[in-house]
Symmetry: none
Subunit: 209 residues, 2 copies
DNA sequence: TGACAATTTTCTGAATAGGATCATTATGTC
DNA sequence: GACATAATGATCCTATTCAGAAAATTGTCA
């Protein structure tokens, strides 16, 4: 697990370093960032830290990466995230999440930092209209139909039917929606989403109408 | 190349996503992070944000990158490799590869540069002995049993049985082998391999005895 | 040394973070 | 129905953030 030490720098130190490296006065930095001089001063003296909003504001207006503000340690990012580990998933030990259109069963949630997220999904929506707005999020996904049939609606293609035993691979950033095919009340699919992008997985949980 | 917008997500949304992705309750997340349930709840409801210290605490205790906590926009580097494309795969249009132990049906091979490789696999080997040496390659894989039952042998674990309707996620660099479970002549599984590491496809095609 | 201006720090008060506790409402189990 | 768990909401309270104004520091030049 190779934890590299964090050399616990304070926000104040980081901020002062950024400021002096750019040769800014507090006033200049204040104008650029929109944060008052007095506040910046206090931060640099460790009499104050900043809240989420201010940090974001700083990061955006000064074009600084968040990780820079947090003096983050170098992690072993490139090492395999799952090393010699495994997890067995079934519906019983799955994490169930219910939305209007789908019932998700997240498999193998005990394994963290996976590159892929396997999800058994029960599809209830029977039409694009009932489904609502198309879903889009980062990454890619592969859907394999286990039971029933589905109709895949997407931003750039005509709807297409995918039957049990077939699968579809698509760019998740393209709007998409899965509904049951004609003649099916429900369908069960296995979905696998790439979790490469940060923040990613997530969107999965919310974006559905 | 169609940069997907960063849609200014709130801290609350991000937090909830992280939590549900991991299948944590508020209480669990509270215990892991050291932040009280009431606070977490308020954050998720956007009635509160967090300050520097709490964010750092969260990041460290939950092993989350700061950039994940801030819905940072993605750079061109991270943009999807497959943009607005899709492919439908079934056994008929699959690329079939036969080895001693398995029959592979590579799905969606018309899409190149995918992050994941979906493969329907028919397993024939009935014992570890018959299988031969364990397989290992870079990346991770998730196997979902469609038909029959399998026994998963691996380097660091006792053999385990995985039945139809269940799945197993594992680090592919750990030696592994899939054979049919007792009482099954054959088994059919859907495998999805992360293709993150270069040269992965090759390994898939070769490594299997 | 004494202006004088630019810069930085401190002071003040309003707003917010953040913790504790209790009540309420699902949801699920026995 | 009784019961446990989970999520949310409502208070209450203290500590902290943070903007604006005032005070202190620093540097420059006559």
């Amino acid at each position: 697990m190779v934890a590299v030490q964090a050399k616990a720098r304070t926000l104040g130190e980081v901020m002062r370093e950024i400021r002096s490296r750019n040769g800014w006065t507090l006033k200049e930095m204040s104008e650029k960032s929109g944060i008052p001089v007095s506040t910046l001063s206090k931060v640099e003296h460790n009499r104050l830290t900043l809240s989420y909003d201010k940090l974001q504001q700083l990061s955006q207006r000064l074009n600084i990466r968040m990780s820079d503000l947090f003096a983050e340690e170098e992690t072993a990012d490139k090492s395999p995230r799952v090393t010699g580990r495994r997890s067995i998933g079934n519906l019983d030990n799955a994490v169930r999440v219910t939305t209007d259109n789908y019932d998700y069963f997240y498999l193998c949630t005990d394994l963290r930092q996976k590159r892929m997220i396997p999800i058994v999904t029960r599809i209830r929506a029977q039409s694009a209209k009932e489904f609502g707005d198309l879903v889009r999020h980062n990454g890619e996904e592969f859907i394999y139909v286990i039971e029933g049939g589905i109709e895949v609606h997407s931003e750039f293609y005509d709807p297409v039917r995918v039957n049990a035993g077939e699968g579809i691979y698509l760019d998740s950033s393209m709007g998409h929606a899965y509904v049951t095919a004609e003649g099916c009340d429900e369908a069960v699919v296995l979905g696998v989403c790439s979790s490469e992008d940060d923040g990613l997985m997530d969107s999965l949980l919310n974006l559905h109408g």
